[in-house]
């Protein structure tokens, strides 16, 4: 079940990306946070207890939405625009 629902841009150009190895589709104009949370319900496990997290402030302040790109770069999902062909790893499901 996704965490976010779209009320605009439903018919915007689809942007394909990979989420934990799975093909997914966002929309042109999405942040990575919106693209991921309209298909999934978490962004990352927390650093120490692996609790699910999905961001909080959506304004680049709380630093709770960091995800990893395939090239190893770590980015803040709420302030990173979705781009075609991105491979995103959230670490979700990798830890017990």
């Amino acid at each position: 079940m996704p965490l976010l629902y779209r009320v605009a841009r439903q018919n915007e150009v689809p942007i394909r990306f990979m989420l934990n190895g799975r093909p997914c589709e966002g929309r042109r104009g999405d942040t990575l946070l919106s693209a991921i949370l309209t298909v999934e319900e978490q962004l990352r496990p927390s650093d120490f207890t692996q609790e699910p997290r999905a961001g909080f402030c959506q304004m680049s302040a709380c630093q709770d939405c960091w995800v990893t790109l395939q090239n190893g770069d770590r980015v803040r999902a709420c302030s990173t625009p979705l781009a075609d062909g991105m491979h995103v790893m959230t670490g979700a499901g990798e830890t017990a």
Binding site: R6, F56, M59
Partner: protein
Amino acid sequence: MSAAAKNPAQPLIVGAGPAGIRAAATLVAAGLRPIVVDEAPACGGQIYRQPLVPDGRDARARYGSEAPKAKRLHGEFAALQDKLDYLPNSLVWNLADGIADVAMNGAHKRLVHDGLILATGAMDRILPVPGWTLPGVFSLGGSQIALKAQGCVIGSRVVFVGTGPLLYLVAWQYLKAGVKVVAVLDAAPFSARVAMVKALPGFPAIVLRGARFVAEMMMKGVAFHYGINKLRFEGTHRVEGVSFEVRGKPRHLSCDGAGFGLGLKSEAQLADLAGCRFAFNERDRVFLPETDEARRSSVPGVYLAGDGSGIAGADAAELSGERAALSLLDDRGLAVDRARVGLLERELRKIFAFRTVLEQSFPFPAHWIADLPGNTTVCRCEEIDVSTIRDAADHFGIVEMNRLKAVSRVGMGRCQGRVCGAAAAELLAAATGQPISAVGRLRGQAPVKPLPMSFAELALPAIGEAAE
């Protein structure tokens, strides 16, 4: 001879929200060419934030009653583009005397400036409660940004909880967007709202708009509860409900999304790095960088505008942005319209008085601290809970925030205590029986936000360049 000596350095404005835009326009009108650095890809700040692409909604749908102001500011800033140097997608991560270190598109730039206007804005003020880290619980500001900038909503059955005008505005905006708003839960007792009567003569439109939001939501079946206690977000992998007490009676509501915030808090880390003196603000229960009515900080050449130096809202941000810019001009020996200065300061005083009434109407629930279970996460980054803070105070005799950070790691994570600092201060004050003003504040540290490692590789040549 340095480049700076050949060409007098430009003034630097940090932030392109209402305060930064107004400051920039004022400097440009006086013939200066400011540099404007902003983290966002487009101007407007959080309040007038723009979508990444047009999404078919007009300004009215996006900004409601504030649409004319948003359009005016966006248009005004666009018209200034060839008269200033605008660095979007850029973070000022360090400040020192006359120098700003900027991360832009993965590269480093060291800016030399003459005159610094900090318009760094605000974020939601938070007290941790059980379950607040669950997916689906977003800050009120975050809930609003999802809707206005991304056209996304945080659930299909949403509860809004906290206090402050934003609580009612965001709930109403979600209702208008077609979302089922289950309830609005206000930490403040209904009796506190009586204070709003005092604001009616000066700000009738704002007071009546708030009343209209509540009336419309009640007609659509939104439940309202006031003076709630023992708030808890529930769920295993995501938020599934919210529990609370009203007049001692336990209540539970199910939901699949929750917006949470207790007013706003200034983003003051850069003022700290700039060396500005801070003072405790009783009303907001927080240390703020000191500023006089002319928006001068304690550091010559550093000016403070907008919510980053005390919460006063977007209209005040425009006024204080202009006032700060006029002080910068004045200090450069340039002509300043004294009548305009008087007008700006009078208008600001009126709004500040109104903010005091708002704070009385939506008081911060500091009493929640006593009820918090020990295993409640306070610091989201380092996952430090309530009992760790209470124990640190107890076992090590800690009475001050930076010692608490050193011992417990609270506020040491990626956000640098931006989110949890105020709550940790409340906890430490309660645990040690001190007033909140006595526990101090977390010192700001560069970089104010995390920087990518790839950025460090590019940093060296840029530093050499600046040293020429």
